[in-house]
Symmetry: C2
Subunit: 338 residues, 2 copies
């Protein structure tokens, strides 16, 4: 749209903005000019002059005419892009992550989710791992396992190792043998089919094929249609939460309506799925910049190891310890794609 506005801040002004952002992140109190005098070795009036300049530029806000300043969304943005200095990960935290990542028994996604859980723990924010999305997923295998003479469990496996299962009643007049036989035909013909196309191919390819040999081909197709129909939605994504209620520990969530709102959003699968990204960088979406919740920051990145892709996200208040979260995510990300 518009050329990126170049803002030139004086040295003290930069430091001042940084100090204000970090003070607010720490204390959640609007910061006043007086409290910064000693740090900058000047009078409160000087600070105030700079502050009002920073406010003019849109980096700071006031909660009311005579309150201290708090960072605006733009202020946070400038902070993370230009001022923030990532904190070093403590040895203790690094150890926690390493022991998981070095555990050869753990499959990649399990290791990642465990690590994100740890990061949630360390930071007190909520973490989300969105597993492989199904668009490129294809059918690997279908299994039919009889449970009793009334029902079977149908199991589907995708090429990425995602497993889905559903119990299905055996329709009247159909034998388990016929079902199993049909499943074998499906396995021969449909392996490699994108998950989204399975239902269609069931109708267009399998039905004519079995119509020749099976009497009840219509019912058999319906049976598998039933077995597979939930699969499409459910398998879209694996969603994993770490510290789902951690975000409630943040002091901004001390009001019933805000709590209910954020809880509602975290339970809303569609909304959570929307967080998905394929961006390889760590991107920070502050407030209105994310479409999850305007009162939060969502930090995202994605991984792609041998075609196994997923999104990592941290959800916390806008007033997030960016300098702590970013290096943690970075560390994990680098390790994954070593």
């Amino acid at each position: 749209m518009c050329a990126k506005e170049v803002v030139i801040l004086g040295d003290r002004q930069s430091k001042l903005l940084k100090a204000i952002v970090e003070s607010y992140i720490k204390n959640i109190k609007p910061v006043g000019s007086k409290s910064l005098c000693k740090l900058f070795n000047c009078s409160s009036a000087t600070i105030r002059n700079d502050m009002s300049y920073l406010e003019e530029l849109g980096f700071l806000e006031k909660t009311h005419t005579s309150s201290g300043r708090i960072p605006s969304e733009k202020g946070y943005n400038y902070y993370v892009e230009n001022l923030m200095k990532p904190k070093e990960i403590t040895g203790e935290d690094m150890l926690k992550l390493q022991t998981i990542l070095n555990n050869k028994e753990l499959v990649l996604t399990d290791a990642i989710t465990k690590c994100m859980e740890i990061i949630s723990d360390i930071t007190n924010y909520t973490s989300i791992v969105l597993g492989k999305n199904s668009e490129n997923n294809v059918l690997k295998q279908v299994s039919i396992i009889p449970i009793d003479n009334k029902k079977v469990v149908a199991i589907l496996i995708t090429n990425t190792g995602h497993v889905e299962n559903k119990q299905v009643n055996i329709p009247d007049g159909i034998s388990i043998k016929e079902i199993v036989k049909t499943s074998e035909i499906i396995n021969k013909s449909l392996v490699g089919t994108p998950i989204n196309d399975v239902l269609e191919k069931l109708e267009l390819e399998i039905k004519p094929q079995i119509a020749k040999t099976m009497e009840k081909y219509e019912e058999l197709c319906n049976f598998f249609y039933d077995a597979f129909s939930d699969f499409k939605e459910k398998s879209d994504d694996d969603i994993f939460f770490g510290g789902k209620t951690n975000i409630l520990k943040q002091p901004e969530y001390n009001e019933p309506n805000k709590i209910k709102e954020i809880i509602g959003k975290l339970e809303n699968i569609e909304l959570v799925k929307n967080i998905e990204t394929e961006d390889k960088d760590i991107k920070i979406y502050i407030g209105s910049q994310n479409n999850f919740d305007p009162d939060t920051t969502v930090i995202k990145t994605s991984y792609n190891v041998d075609g196994e892709v997923g999104t990592l996200a941290i959800i916390g208040p806008k007033r997030m310890e960016y300098d702590k979260v970013v290096p943690l995510l970075n560390y994990l990300k680098n390790f994954i794609e070593r």
Copy 2:
């Protein structure tokens, strides 16, 4: 312990208690004597006399010296046991449940969970379905499906149709063939073993068996140990929530700490599992009588159809519309065990 205390309430006193409980359930306001005058065609003083008698018996409480009365836990109890008249289910609600229950395609547990979701919707309380507990579950089948040359997905199926899966890395120096062969041996030897004993038998029966024919028997056993080890915990129960956040709509949850507490409890799997019951009746556990949350009422019952067992529960505030919830649960229960 002590013989059940027989309390004799006069006719008016009974009706009064009923009226107070129902008024409080509806309006969530302590009910005063004046408001009941018209209903009983007597003066507020008369009502007050009866009220103070009911308070003496422990059925009513005051929030402060000069407030109206609210039902005590004992009061609710007496109400549900002696005074409550179950409301008829509306035609609309019954229709909703019937269309699900009459859908022959749906497997029993799916129909039940869908119904409980409907009941959550109707009542604005939270419903829980706890699926079959694993104690009697036995192994039905193990499948190993190779994903790529680094990992496989191990799938376990129990006799009840419960499916669990885990991706596992293939250890160095072991071939897929060996793994599949071992899984075949497991299928031959361990089918029918209670889930809780599988790990033990793996060590005591499978290991010596494969030691003869396979070189890397030690590693192979470890592999399957790894694959099965999560299974035990996870498969303990299927937990299904309907309207998980519905309970937050109840006006008693308008305080940050209460919200956080109940959310925390609902996320606590151990606590939720504890709700499990095998009681065939519908039992009402009010406040301190349930060990889930002293501020809520938990209504439970269980079903057992052809050995498929589970618990149904509704969690709401103590101030619950008992006369609405009980018939709904009853209807569902009777239908299930038709």
